[in-house]
């Protein structure tokens, strides 16, 4: 048996991170890359990595809430595209940059609400519902643009994607705000407690008076909203919207959540882990680029590292549970 003090410390670690293993993996990858290439450990490159990771990380923050309730949201990649083309379209139609930004976020939110309602009121499995909206949203993006990109060169509109506050790029600032907010919500509010309760045991939560449908629907709405926000940021960065943006991004977001130690069964995990997971994925891509690894090998390498990280996490968990 561990001495009492040590045990409280482990508990505190779990409370913020869900698990320590992802952080260890992240540090190991960073150490390895700094040894392999001098170009990795520069402030310029590090800020660059975080900025590149920020889009996936923001989507993954919403995904964390959904997965903690025991659900899944496959539609986020397509929502990103719909948000992108709607915001660019609104801008192209002569509306103000603010209206365009709100249009993009709003369409993501609307899809998220629809996901939540069909899942909870219609009582359909989240996998099926969000698979449906995945194709619907992608289709709408294609119909809306007729398959062609829409330019969005307005400087104010592009602030979210390209701007900077001090030395920090705006996407990183948004990332920080989103993660602080989700951390606060998960750990300090009734909503957060209900999310964990539903994921831990939905029936027990319901029999304790938790409004399960409302809370679950809200997690999908938040996930949709954050996907919409990400679409707007990405459009700003690229200066144009394309209907095929974000294709497959749902898998990166899910990978970040799972890498961060959140259980796909729900009820266990947390937002800090997700941030670490998104950084692992981002740094991995960055490192492979710096090392000039053939682009076709990169997905293979990424998948292998994800599997190794999860196996390591399993081991650590199993030994700490015994």
């Amino acid at each position: 048996m561990l001495p009492a003090r040590l045990r409280t410390e482990t508990r505190d670690w779990r409370r913020i991170g869900g698990s320590v293993a992802p952080i260890v993996v992240l540090i190991l990858i960073c150490l390895l890359l700094s040894l392999l290439t001098p170009r990795f450990l520069t402030s310029e490159n590090l800020i660059n990595v975080v900025r590149q990771s920020s889009l996936n990380a923001i989507v993954a923050a919403g995904m964390t809430l959904v997965i903690l309730t025991g659900g899944i949201d496959l539609s986020v990649g397509s929502l990103l595209a719909v948000s992108s083309v709607f915001s660019a379209g609104t801008l192209a139609a002569g509306s103000s940059p603010l209206a365009a930004i709100l249009a993009g976020i709003g369409i993501g939110l609307a899809f998220g609400v629809a996901n939540g309602l069909i899942i909870t009121v219609g009582d359909v499995a989240p996998f099926i519902v969000t698979l449906g909206t995945l194709t619907i949203a992608r289709g709408i993006a294609l119909v809306y643009t007729n398959g062609a990109p829409i330019m969005a060169m307005d400087n104010d509109f592009r602030f979210l994607g390209r701007g900077g506050i001090g030395f920090l790029p705006v996407p990183i600032v948004i990332l920080i705000v989103v993660y602080l907010a989700v951390y606060f919500v998960l750990n300090r509010t009734t909503f957060g407690s209900y999310v964990y309760a539903i994921g831990g045991n939905q029936e027990a939560a319901r029999l304790s008076g938790v409004r399960v449908r409302l809370i679950k629907a809200a997690t999908y709405a938040i996930s949709g909203l954050l996907a919409g926000l990400t679409g707007v940021i990405l459009t700003g960065r690229l200066g144009s919207a394309q209907p095929n943006l974000g294709s497959g991004d749902e898998l990166d977001a899910i990978a970040a959540v799972v890498l961060g130690g959140t259980s796909l069964a729900g009820g266990r995990g947390g937002i800090v882990g997700t941030l670490v997971g998104a950084l692992i994925i981002g740094i991995l891509s960055n490192g492979l680029n710096l090392l000039n690894v053939n682009a076709y090998y990169q997905p293979v390498a990424k998948g292998v590292v994800i599997l190794i990280a999860i196996l390591v996490d399993r081991r650590v968990r199993a030994s700490s549970a015994a």
């Binding site: 509010t189 407690s193 309760a197 831990g200 045991n201 029936e203 027990a204 939560a205 938790v210």
Partner: protein, 518 residues
Amino acid sequence: MNDLMHATGQAHPPDATAGSAASPCLLRMNQVSKRFPGVLALDRVDFEVQTGEIHALIGENGAGKSTLIKILSGAYQADSGELIFDGQHIQQPTPARMQHIGVSVIYQELNLVPYLSVARNIFLGHEPQIVQGVIDFRTMHQRSRELLNLLGIDLPPTRLVADLGIAARQLVEVAKALSRRVRLLIMDEPTAPLSEQETATLFDVVRRLRQQGVTVIYISHRLEEVFRLADRVTVLRDGRVIGTRPVEAVTRDDLVRMMVGREITEQYPKSQVQPGEVVLRVSGLPGRTDHDAELVVRAGEIVALAGLMGSGRTELARQIFGADPMPHGRIEIRGRPVRIHSTWQAIEAGIGMVPEDRKTQGLILERSVADNISLPVLSRYARAMIVRQADVRNMVRELVRAIDIRIQHIAQVVRTLSGGNQQKVILAKWLASHCDVLILDEPTRGVDVGARTEIYRVIGQLVEQGKAILLISSDLPELLGLCDRVVVVYGGRLVAQFERHAATAETIIRYASGAFAD
């Protein structure tokens, strides 16, 4: 090695009553100890089971019963001591080895595959085959029927296990053990989820097993069952064997004393509370003939819903609590009609419910004691959804002290608590909510004698606070010991009502089994 070869050589068919050596002692454990970090789970245990007997093993939660079973099943290895089965020393017991020599365990969580047929479950892993890999269904069904007949069960081998009730599933487990030529069958609290009738059927099956020469170790919390079924009984306490007795030679009180180590004088603290005003009134419920029955619970009163499993008592309770839609009936709280369509509305109306299944309905096992207790009332400790965590912690600590939940820390994960303490956590949830009406569905199921008495004490406190309590229990002595009135449910209808002094077990069973039509 030599004795391993020997033991593998003998696989007895279940009807070989004589056995090989006809030794009176089938199983013997000598000075077996097992230590886990921080606890000595078994302390030099001597335990002996005779061939062909039904041997009850009883003890409170944490007494070491499950550790003992796991050693017998090969899941754990003892730290020291000997295990002798049918005269053979078992050196390295593994699950496969123990199964091979004829030891089977039926756990509370049954090990059946729901979407396979009864026959495929019975022969899972040793299917009769036409050629390697191709199941011989004709033989399998034929042999399944034989096994089920042997047990006196009428069940088509082609039925899906998913379509069976819990009682029938248990019988399939017994048939499965029998198909593996079981010699020693260990049953872990098999009657916990069963109704009176289903229990009687299971007992018949166990007695038939004895006739077939199968030896049974029967683990239970219900002392009545020991007297109904067993030949001998062994009591464990704190990892030690307190004694083994022939059942004829002991009384209920003897066993309680051996289990607890102290006298439990007043098992059911009779409340001296005079029932006050009507708190809960549900009218328009199905009665014997029409929708005219009424369920009334007063402040400081315990009303029991008696009935067999599936009679509709749990369903009615869940409807009152808003967990399921209510087809008939109107609910009034303190004379005011209330509309309840979901559990949160019930809680706002002042109703709480301890559900029948602690682990799947009552608790979030991976969360802390504090998270579980505060869940129904969390919004009352929050403004703009932000929880005042210090207040929550204080509230939880107070309740933990008030009803004496034994934990190290309120951040402790609920899964690690004993059954009795888990049940107290659920009770604490509803104490925190200050509800007026509390529905208790099987509040002492799977809880040991000591914790049971403490739960009765908490119920007594609740009554003194003037709460209206609706109690459901399959344990008739408990039900009669606690309640002020009994309402009997049969086929979803309220068919009879008795004051406590007028209620006896016999009359309740008569109405509960539908024998009232004349």
